[in-house]
């Protein structure tokens, strides 16, 4: 468990350093304006579903997560950039089956962190093309009930995406931004601490990502110092392929095998953000 946390936090600290310290420094040296620092809060409806190799649904989870986050963003001569960190926490209702295929309902406790850096390159009036690199760390604790044993899972994976953005000016101090991202990533990892086996790390399959966003922004213009506000809604769908099976051992003896099946995440959210631009 400690190793799991160490793995997750070390990678996140590295990414935080890049996103929040190194990147702004590099940007500052590249003929860029002063960055803005923002804080956000919101909520998202979170859905998680797992499927076996034949496409049969094994597990379906749904719940509402609280979301908080930080953003550093700025404009350079030729591009816009931002670095984001978000934390989502909450519980989901678990409706699935046990390892013996018996129907089972419980809860899972979620804590998901996402770190991302992204850049937008204007291509024509109102339109920009973007690229994004993100790292996601998900702590999922499935609660046991009765003789059915729960256990924790720790997911970690990287994703990259290409995006398109359209911005429309709605008034002197109000503008609307619509964005779309399409991407994916290589297989990540999930660490399991199963009740009857030593902790094990499973490989995940590759992932695909679709994200859509709509944001209303007001306050000082992007080139002016001062406060601004943003309110947005978003939709994100991720699909991660099944990973390979791995032998489970306990005290050095094989006791079973496990794989992470294909899973699909869907998130609908709304956030509000305030930004101070220096």
């Amino acid at each position: 468990m400690l190793a799991t946390k160490a793995f997750g936090w070390s990678a996140q600290r590295w990414a935080v350093s890049v996103c929040l310290i190194v990147l702004p420094s590099v940007v500052a040296a590249a003929d860029c304006g002063a960055p803005g620092l923002g804080a956000l809060a919101g909520a998202e409806r979170s859905q998680w579903e797992e499927f076996d190799a034949h496409g049969k649904s094994l597990v379906r989870e749904q719940g509402t997560l609280k979301v908080v986050g930080l953003q550093v963003a700025g404009q350079c001569r030729t591009l816009d950039w931002s670095a984001n960190w978000t934390l989502s926490r909450g519980e989901r209702d678990y409706d699935g089956v046990t390892s013996t295929q018996a129907p089972f309902q419980t809860q899972s406790r979620l804590q998901a962190q996402h770190l991302a850096v992204q850049a937008w390159l204007p291509v024509r009036s109102g339109w920009s093309m973007g690229s994004q690199l993100g790292y996601r760390h998900i702590e999922r604790d499935i609660a046991g009930k009765g003789n059915v044993l729960g256990y924790p899972e720790r997911f970690a994976y990287w994703q990259a995406a290409l995006g398109a953005r359209y911005q429309a000016v709605l008034g002197a101090r109000v503008r609307l931004t619509a964005s779309a991202w399409l991407g994916g990533g290589p297989g990540g990892r999930v660490k399991l601490d199963l009740p009857r086996a030593d902790p094990v790390t499973l490989n995940l399959g590759s992932s695909r990502l679709l994200a859509l966003g709509l944001e209303l922004e007001g306050g000082e213009a992007a080139t002016q110092a001062g406060w601004s506000w943003q309110a947005g809604v978003s939709y994100r769908r991720e699909q991660t392929s099944a990973g390979p099976a791995k032998t489970l051992v306990r005290n050095g003896i094989p006791v079973g095998a496990a794989l992470q099946p294909r899973f699909v995440q869907r998130h609908w959210g709304g956030t509000a953000r305030v930004t101070y631009r220096f």
Partner: protein
Amino acid sequence: MLKVRLALTLVAASTILVACGGGGGDDSPSPNTPLAATQAPITSANYVAVTQEALSSNAFLLDATSLVVGAQVSDSSTLIRFGQSQLSKTPGRIANASVQAVGATQTFTEQCAGGGTLTIVDNDRNGNQQADAGDSVSLTANNCSFDGEVLNGQLSVTLNSATGNFESGYPYTLSGVLSFQNLTAQSATTRVVANGSMTMTVDARSDFNQSVALAIDSFAVSRTYAGVTSSQTLTKYNTSLKVSPTGSGADWTSSVRGILTSSTIDSKSVSIDTPLSFVRSGNQAYPASGQAIILGAAGSKVQVTAISSTTVKIDLDADGNGTYETSVNKVWSEIL
């Protein structure tokens, strides 16, 4: 039929108890002992692993717990659950068989829920459409889906007895021989092959007053977990579980006596016996009392004592001088 399912579920829900137990209802004081040449030495380097392997040796026979599905995790209890389910169905199959010439058999095919088929041969020996001793059912699984796994191979069920209010309630008794012939369960992560036979006896009087016993002459299981293969053979192996009503629910009492040969101990053997049956309260995951003795080569011995429902003490007498020179307390979940 519902009550039969309950009884067999009790067996399925008692894995840990029996996994810790021994004796099979036999009160004789000494366990079976494997031949000296095939006995595995128990040392300070392997005694925890040997304990785990010995206590878990029938976990696939009687499994108490299951996991929620997050990752897809497979173990090897599916074939036994399938055997149990088919034993419970046998009296009904015999009763529903069409009238036939005495001694004749009839074959039909049954669809498995989730895919595949079972080819079933009923043999109502006297043609009376009642479950009598000697009546049998032979099943051939053809990619038959069961509990999320795909089964192939053969299982035969021969009734010893079936008496009582079997169809609609308690009490009843049910006894039969389950014979596995290359019966294989395949999942995305695991392949398990079983060969051998066991006699299962159920005595059910109410939901919380039941007993189940398994008597095994020889039963071999080969498991491949994500490409890693191991094997176990149980010989002269008897195990039992008794569920008794208490004020707050039920106590689960289990015992075991037999010989385990395992690839994890260089295909050598140890014997296991429970001089004190393990007892678990219905609201606990592990037994709070009971003791097992595991014997290896040259008198090497392990004593396993339940300290509480969370802790188990493991003592080692590696040189067989009667003194336990090494001891460790473990959390039950690290062993079972």
